[in-house]
């Protein structure tokens, strides 16, 4: 496997209003504050975290739907961070986005045919080929060709999401960033769409970055999982290993919240105290220290670095990553 995408110290800060008249530094909201990871061709990287931790912003910044404040995005060996205009447009062909809300992501005034063929029109693919591709795409996402003259409002949520998926596949992308593609759908439909995405991954050799807050869905689809907290990566590793043996206290707390099908299994639920701090004014030192059950003096002053914690490449950013390994065992 080769590396398809590399993200180096990516930052996205949003300027806030209310700057004091003579103060020099503008207040900013650090939605994404220096994340680094890489994605191999053909794998699925799950990106999890609670609401507002910067998952979607990270996804959008990688695709350059938002302009990153700092850092580098290297796609297929090419640094695309500085790409603008025409160069960036060409790149869209290879990187696609699947949106969270299937009700908002389809233009209500366009037919399904127009929606799915538009990317091909933009890249000047001849009409005959477009039509062939349309039929094929409708087929792979489980829609019929007579659907193509209909408008989005005539479809259910699951069907709409499949239309969105068909649109994102129209240009044969290499990388697809899925921003909570199933969170707006019913559970039964979620499974349908997830399975479809897995099939498509195999068929078209796709690489996914799968953003979600549903940990079981992420576990199911991902090869590797990255956990975000307040705009930073706190842990990243191979999915099974990370789920079985989380090193970062935040990951442990997250995983302890996943509902268990077995009511007899004794499970220690780690309840985090306090609220998520504001990303406009994040805590000093380790950003998690305000809610961490293991926090000590060093956590309040020194920011931990993401470091290797196992032989297989699992990484966590915690001063006590080695010591808190067994914290999810009953105390």
């Amino acid at each position: 496997m080769s590396t398809l995408l590399e993200v180096k110290d990516l930052k996205k800060h949003f300027p806030l209003k209310g700057q004091a008249l003579f103060s020099k530094d503008k207040p900013v909201l650090k939605a994404v504050d220096g994340i680094s990871f890489s994605v191999e061709t053909g794998e699925t990287l799950g990106l999890v975290g609670e609401s507002g931790c910067g998952k979607s912003t990270a996804g959008r910044s990688i695709l350059k739907l938002l302009e990153p404040t700092e850092g580098e995005v290297i796609f297929k060996g090419e640094n695309i961070t500085k790409h603008r205009g025409e160069k960036l447009r060409k790149l869209r062909k290879d990187m696609q986005f699947i949106f969270q809300d299937p009700y908002a992501s389809l233009n209500p005034r366009k037919t399904i045919e127009q929606i799915i063929t538009e990317p091909m029109k933009i890249f000047n693919i001849p009409k005959a080929e477009r039509n062939k591709k349309l039929t094929r795409l409708l087929d792979v996402v489980g829609l019929s060709s007579y659907h193509k003259h209909r408008y989005p409002h005539e479809f259910s949520g699951g069907q709409r999401q499949r239309i969105g998926i068909a649109r994102s596949l129209a240009l044969d992308p290499d990388l697809v960033i899925c921003d909570e593609p199933v969170s707006a759908l019913d559970v039964s439909i979620q499974a349908q769409v997830i399975n479809l995405m897995e099939d498509l991954q195999e068929e078209f050799n796709l690489t996914y970055i799968f953003i979600a807050h549903d940990l079981s869905v992420v576990h199911h689809i991902s090869d590797r999982v990255a956990v975000m907290y307040l705009g930073e990566l706190v842990e990243i590793g191979e999915a099974n290993e990370l789920y079985q043996n989380p090193k970062h206290p935040y990951t442990q707390a997250l995983l302890s919240a996943v509902p268990e099908a077995n009511p007899h299994r004794d499970k220690q639920r780690i309840i985090l105290k306090g609220d998520l701090p504001s990303p406009a004014n994040p805590p000093q030192g380790c950003k998690f220290h305000t809610r961490c059950p293991f926090a000590e003096e060093i956590c309040r002053t020194q920011e931990p670095k993401l470091k290797k914690v196992s032989a297989t490449g699992q990484m966590a950013s915690c001063h006590f990553a080695e010591e808190v390994v067994n914290a999810n065992e009953p105390l």
Partner: protein, 306 residues
């Protein structure tokens, strides 16, 4: 890859079983619903009827008119309404009924052309301002603000004074005066639409700004544009009549309603029909467009859908 156990594969929805015939009709329901709501609402239906009568009158004007609109008959000037002259005659003995009937063509022409100018320029300016924002928005909207600072008729008079009097120039002036309304309405619609996910989706598939604006943003602003267009036609006819009344619009002997008012004002004491009937014609047409515009506003608002 392993599958979740719920369902083996995406299955086409069962409610899509019945095929072809329904597909077109279903897609148009949105518009049919709106049309039904207009017909159902009494006031907008009256407006629609008035406008239909106006359009039919304009089309069949030569057949409906009993006299030539410009034929003078000085001996029979200031005749009161009679069976020969339904609405009487004016100071040159011209048949007022025939002049009003032929004037409907001019009114429609004014309405369509003036509002067309206002709409095309206004929608483009408002769309560009709202879509690109920042300094482009600032420049365009400040110019619009300046235009709005003038009373519309005063601005129209100033424009005609520059362009020279005449019906065509009056239409252009009235059109320009209508631009700010369109620009503001479209800008505000664009501001909300450009934040939607389907616009982001359009950008993510590599669409250029022009395409995003013309294909995705503006088509979703049609409802407010249609409403504004209908309401503007009434105002445009009124403004053009005002210009003609002041002698800046249609020139004699054109049977323009505003010009007819102006011509007849000297005789208002002795022959009130000379001004009353053209005035009523303007009143009903403007009323018709306003009623329909209000009705459209309600009909095209999906939030009111039951």
């Amino acid at each position: 890859m392993h599958h979740l156990s719920l369902q083996p594969n995406p299955i086409p929805d069962p409610n899509t079983v019945n095929v072809d015939q329904s597909e077109q009709t279903k897609s148009r329901r949105l518009w049919i619903d709106s049309a039904m709501r207009i017909v159902k609402s009494k006031t907008s239906f009256i407006g629609l009827c008035i406008i239909l009568i106006l359009i039919l009158t304009a089309i069949f004007a030569p057949l409906i008119a009993t006299h030539s609109p410009t034929a003078q008959d000085i001996i029979n000037r200031y005749q009161p309404p009679s069976s020969e002259h339904f609405l009487g005659t004016d100071e040159l003995g011209r048949d007022i009924f025939s002049r009003i009937v032929h004037g409907s063509r001019i009114s429609i022409q004014i309405g369509v052309i003036a509002v067309g100018i206002a709409m095309i320029i206004g929608v483009l300016l408002g769309g560009v301002a709202g879509y690109f924002g920042r300094w482009i928005d600032q420049i365009i909207m400040r110019i619009i603000d300046i235009m709005m600072a003038f009373p519309s008729i005063l601005l129209a008079i100033a424009l005609v004074a520059v362009l020279g009097p005449g019906l065509t120039n009056a239409m252009i002036a009235v059109g320009i005066v209508g631009i700010p309304q369109f620009a503001r309405i479209v800008r505000s619609a664009v501001l909300s639409i450009k934040e939607t996910e389907y616009i982001e989706a359009a950008k993510s598939i590599g669409a250029k700004h022009g395409r995003v604006l013309m294909q995705h943003v503006l088509p979703n602003c049609v409802a407010p544009i249609i409403v504004q267009t209908t309401l503007s036609i009434g105002t445009a006819i009124l403004d053009a009549a005002g210009l003609s009344f002041l002698g800046l619009g249609a020139q004699p002997p054109t049977p323009e309603w505003g010009a007819m008012l102006s011509d007849g004002q000297a005789a208002i004491q002795n022959a009130p029909w000379v001004v009353a009937f053209p005035g009523l014609a303007i009143f009903f047409v403007v009323l018709g467009f306003n009623l329909l515009g209000d009705g459209l506003r309600d009909a095209l608002d999906p939030r009111l859908k039951q």
